[in-house]
Symmetry: C2
Subunit: 351 residues, 2 copies
DNA sequence: TTGTACGCGTTATCAA
DNA sequence: TTGATAACGCGTACAA
């Protein structure tokens, strides 16, 4: 009996060489000549321990290349020191920047970040939430406010602190983000001022996507205020390919629109490229706008008129917010400002 | 004594409402009227249990919204069912696609993926490895073969199964990827065939980056074989901004080069844009090439000649490989083929 | 096929 | 300031 306690045993000669067990805290304690408790304190609450033991433990730990076992620690601590973020997709550079900023912020407070994307599948979303709950994330950052009801149910039952990031419409619940609606109002206003009256909107699907809805609303607000008819709206995915198709569809109508508002830069980039292929001059015959101000939007020809979103700031603020939420506090913050960036893809409406 | 065992106690009235404890497996077992062991088996090895108990347990679990505690499970299982991937940066769409494919593959085998990027900082890299080891990842996917020695030391000591992905040069250790060197040979060959003799190379920094080195070597191989002088080489970061500066620097030389080889599409995109600003005609006055074939490279004007890399396939194969490695097997596989994509940014050398 | 009891590695409590 | 010991929640021999 007690065999499992005998850590001095040499690797048994006749067996295959097996992966050697990683050193545990007891091993460190023994080498340092202190108790388990002292070793634990020396590493995670050094101020509670005499400098001498502290050093002895540190030395022993370094000597053994000891790394604490996160699973055991989580179990004892009843927190995992990890946070999950659920993105719609990882295939939009705007989210990559956001995630990076979020990760940086959490890292400062010693939290790890689980990144996952559901790629607009509700099933995937439920599965992701389930996995994150298994991992006992201490907090959850949700992108957008319009999550799957089932997923939200799971989150609510598990009582995991969570925040909504990205969108922050006036009437929505508290979240860290900006107003898609107001941003799109500016875009539309810009086009109307340029004399455009026949506008087509290339929108993302609005089910489970309050961002797409808010952007759509922003356009409608503004056209209606200006006494225009509601613009033709085409619904599609948020991809470059969808932008191509959208442009074709838009330009198949008679009379042709003079402006195409796209829900994202990705779509606008596709539309721009397809316009070039069709020989449609931008902006002389058609103005095109995007949304997000991804780095590439300034590299297209013509450069894209778009909405700049403070991605990094939102990522950092989301980190602040979820850290606060996990600490039981709650942060109120005003929506972030966005900025219309007027570039070459928009111009006066043709006569 | 034994008070902590009394799970029927009502929430104490006078205290603040606290976060209710999440249900444990015992709770499920009790509700299902079976033992802890049976409950455990019913959920993770259903075939070992009678259909009747299996169902009872499932029902109870669903009723309580039970989710297994990953930390406890890891501790008992001595594996975490998680894998880490260490990227140089998350700010290149090529890596985003790779990670997504990897994640998908691992997810099929019920593994979670920790994603982290060191952004070319060695310190960050060591910290990341340390964190991943704390989390007891069962395997590690390293992007590139040229990791920090210290980090590799940690990984070796911890004896964590790991694989190298992305690069796979002839003389390097086994890894899942493609030959950067051969790909760049093709690019250079293409330019030489177009009559270019004065070529400038805009390379990434080569310290700790075998990909940049291999690409550089590929260019040198080919120019030297063609009896040309070694091309002027400018070293810089892998960014759009660096591409802009690189182009300016390249075109400041007399005589000007007729072709600019860029180490990545990001750089090439910057160079292309800066050329437009300077009024340099591409490809009439200057041919420009990229590397990676990111989606946007086909949306630039002119479209970018570049090297297509089978990102998704590599991601999936990397998943296969690390799963195999964790199972104690090892996968041999030939390097993936790359493909030169000739588009509008390259043309005959000016007279 | 099921139940019991122990171990996984750490932190927290409580005495000393 | 330190040391002993009881959790933390789950998997799995082993016995029944």
């Amino acid at each position: 009996m007690g065999a499992s306690d005998n850590s001095e045993e040499a690797p048994s000669k006749s067996k295959v060489v097996t992966r050697s067990r990683r050193p545990r805290l007891v091993d460190v304690a023994r080498l340092a000549g202190v108790s388990l408790g002292s070793a634990s304190r020396a590493l995670s609450a050094p101020e509670l321990v005499k400098p001498k033991t502290r050093e002895a433990v540190r030395l022993a730990a370094a000597h053994l290349s000891y790394v604490v076992d996160g699973a055991a620690r989580s179990l004892a601590l009843r927190r995992s020191l990890s946070v999950g973020v659920i993105l719609p997709t990882i295939n939009n550079p705007i989210f990559a920047d956001f995630v990076h900023a979020l990760q940086q912020r959490l890292s400062e407070d010693n939290y790890s970040l689980f990144v996952s994307a559901h790629e607009y599948s509700r099933d995937a979303e439920t599965l992701i939430v389930e996995r994150l709950l298994q991992r006992s994330v201490d907090g959850l950052v949700l992108l957008g406010t319009d999550q799957d009801r089932k997923a939200m149910g799971q989150i609510a039952r598990a009582e995991v602190p969570h925040i909504f990031a990205w969108s922050s419409e006036e009437n929505s619940r508290i979240s860290v983000g900006f107003s898609n609606r107001r941003a799109m109002q500016q875009v539309t206003q810009h086009l109307i001022q340029l004399g455009h009256r026949r506008i087509t909107l290339l929108s993302g699907h609005t089910e489970y996507n309050e961002r797409a809805r808010a952007r759509l609303d922003g356009v409608l607000d503004t056209t209606s205020l200006a006494g225009l008819d509601a613009p033709t709206t085409i619904f599609s995915e948020f991809s470059v390919e969808a932008g191509r198709h959208g442009l074709r569809e838009a330009m198949a109508k008679t009379p042709r629109p003079t402006a195409l508002i796209c829900s994202t830069d990705l779509m606008a980039a596709g539309a721009l490229s397809e316009a070039a292929i069709m020989g449609i001059k931008v902006p002389e015959e058609l103005s095109i706008t995007g949304f997000d101000n991804i780095e590439f939007s300034a590299l297209l020809t013509p450069q894209l008129t778009t909405v700049d979103v403070p991605t990094v700031e939102i990522g950092t603020a989301a980190g602040d917010a979820i850290l606060a939420a996990m600490a039981g506090k709650s942060i109120e913050r005003a929506p972030f400002p966005t900025r219309l960036v007027v570039r070459g893809s928009t111009g006066p409406a043709p006569k």
